[in-house]
Amino acid sequence: MDQFVINLIFVGASFALYIGIAIWARAGTTSDFYAASRGVNPIVNGAATAADWMSAASFISMAGLIAFVGYGNSTFLMGWTGGYVILALLLAPYLRKFGRFTVPDFIGDRFYSQTARLVAVISLLVMSITYVIGQMTGAGVAFSRFLEVDNTTGLLIAAAVVFIYAVLGGMKGITYTQLAQYCVLIVAYTIPAIFISLQLTGNPLPQLGLFSTHTESGQPLLQTLNEVLIELGFNDYTGMHAPQNTLNMVLFTLSLMIGTAGLPHVIIRFFTVPKVADARTSAGWALVFIALLYTVAPAVGAMARLNIITTIYPDGVREQPLAYADRPDWMRNWEQTGLLAFEDKNGDGFIQYYNEANPPEFAEELGWEGNEMVTFNQDILVLANPEIAQLPGWVIGLIAAGGLAAALSTAAGLLLAISSAVSHDLIKNMINPGISEKGELLAARISMAFAIALATYLGLNPPGFAAQVVALAFGLAASSLFPALMMGIFSKKMNAAGAITGMIVGLGSTLLYIFTYLGWFFFPGTNMLPNTPEYWLFGISPLSFGAVGAALNFAAAYLVNKLTGDAPAEIQELVEGIRVPKGAGAAVDH
């Protein structure tokens, strides 16, 4: 069967499943729409959280990020999983006990201030909208590669599917489609990884294969990889190399961790479970489901890197490399997309792949005149994995459905966070408190439709700075929402003035640091300092500054709190109430 038909069947079947779920899980009340009526099983919620959290970036890009940097990018693995420990221990149970629908809901009530609520709504909208752009463009790319439609058509199909289940089902529809999407994406990710691990090491578990003996060379896989990389003039895989340094690695990991814990679309998933104890259980399962992919990703990265090198140098790096005319089919396929490109610089008909900036001493002797694999987009790694491992066509169809599942599940979660901030926090809590239940549900559906339209528009016309802005979302979450939530729970005395000052200081300092190196509002040429390690303050990259911004937030909040007096007694009582699980229903009446 033609590969296109197989892809179409897999993607079509998965979409039919999502729409079927949407019709089955229609929302009838605002509680359905915002929090699936708090009736979601904690393990189901764990899987839904995993799909919600793992975006196109996790599914498609992360293995590539690790493959081409090695140890230095372990930050993504630790950072994007460590945040769940913070969620489980410091945030989720208490926010669930508080029993509201949105993150600004908590901040507004806990700090008894409409200003605090508004600052939270603005932070939420900025981070969620920027985040959703990446998901929509990711879905568009996956469509165009696997279904041979143009980017625009792909994006519109994706938007239409999300529209059906998000507008109809709200959180309830999204939860159960995310469960299905998790199953699709994890199967799609692990099957090629298992086969590659078997081929290279004979061990079916990629997590163990990464540290096993490489069958061909008879020595550990990572040692073989290090040796060939060094021979070709690249940095070794397991060491730390500039521009990465220890302090920056710690701060970047910490920023990702607390940024994760502060992302509203992740937090609201924990509002859907019946009890406080379930929120803890659910965070544990979420991490189990996430780690299934995240512990496989570094193995995929290392094995794919080695695979590429041994494909190009089948007899060792000093011997005759692969002839361009003999390149495997997957290279031919991906050359057509422009994501992979070769250039025969010395005209010998063979492919030489090495580090031009640090050429091996035998390069000249062998007549090498430059690296000839001139483009290798990191995203190819995961998408081409089944082809590299020579797996049957249905695995490729599965990868197509998996990549789309990852993008759509995250997009839906973000869209819900955006629409509930508008309909619940802005309309219900600030503009028109007298709105009826039916009116609010309608407002929620209309905001959702608008959010999808906006995301689609931005996906079709992405601002030039989309890539930096995703990193900005983490910095914002880490420096503004996370500290406010933490202090709201762990400091009874923290008052409105302290929390608001803290959020503004955290947000402001992080934005300032990022704009200094990346340009004001990311306009090229407006940066005040070059974005290179020697100009970074103490070697801290702009992307790692979220953790520092959070520290400034805490410090400013405590200082202002000391000067302006403690929170009123009834607020301190409210905080005592959220600290114990008992009586989750009662908290709503405060």
Partner: protein, 84 residues
């Protein structure tokens, strides 16, 4: 339920959170990054223990930590009679 016992419950909770977060930081920032040179002598499959913690061990420890905390807190909730 008296205020005294609510206070004790919260103190016990903060204590177990602190212990868990120290381990959380130790396996990731500690073993995975800052103390990696100290663990360089312990080989694991072609590299060292620090690399293993950075790419596998820290994540596995995180899972254990959450489920341990869950087990501990469910017990604590019952002990203080604050479970739902």
């Amino acid at each position: 339920m008296s205020d005294k016992s609510t206070d004790d419950y919260w103190k016990a909770n903060v204590r177990i959170i602190t212990i868990c977060m120290v381990i959380w930081a130790l396996v990731s920032f500690g073993f995975g990054i800052v103390f990696r040179p100290l663990l360089a002598g312990i080989p694991v499959g072609g590299t060292d223990l620090g690399f293993w913690f950075a790419q596998q061990g820290s994540m596995l420890t995180f899972i254990v930590l959450i489920f341990y905390y869950r087990w501990y807190m469910n017990r604590l909730d019952r002990e203080y009679g604050v479970e739902e």
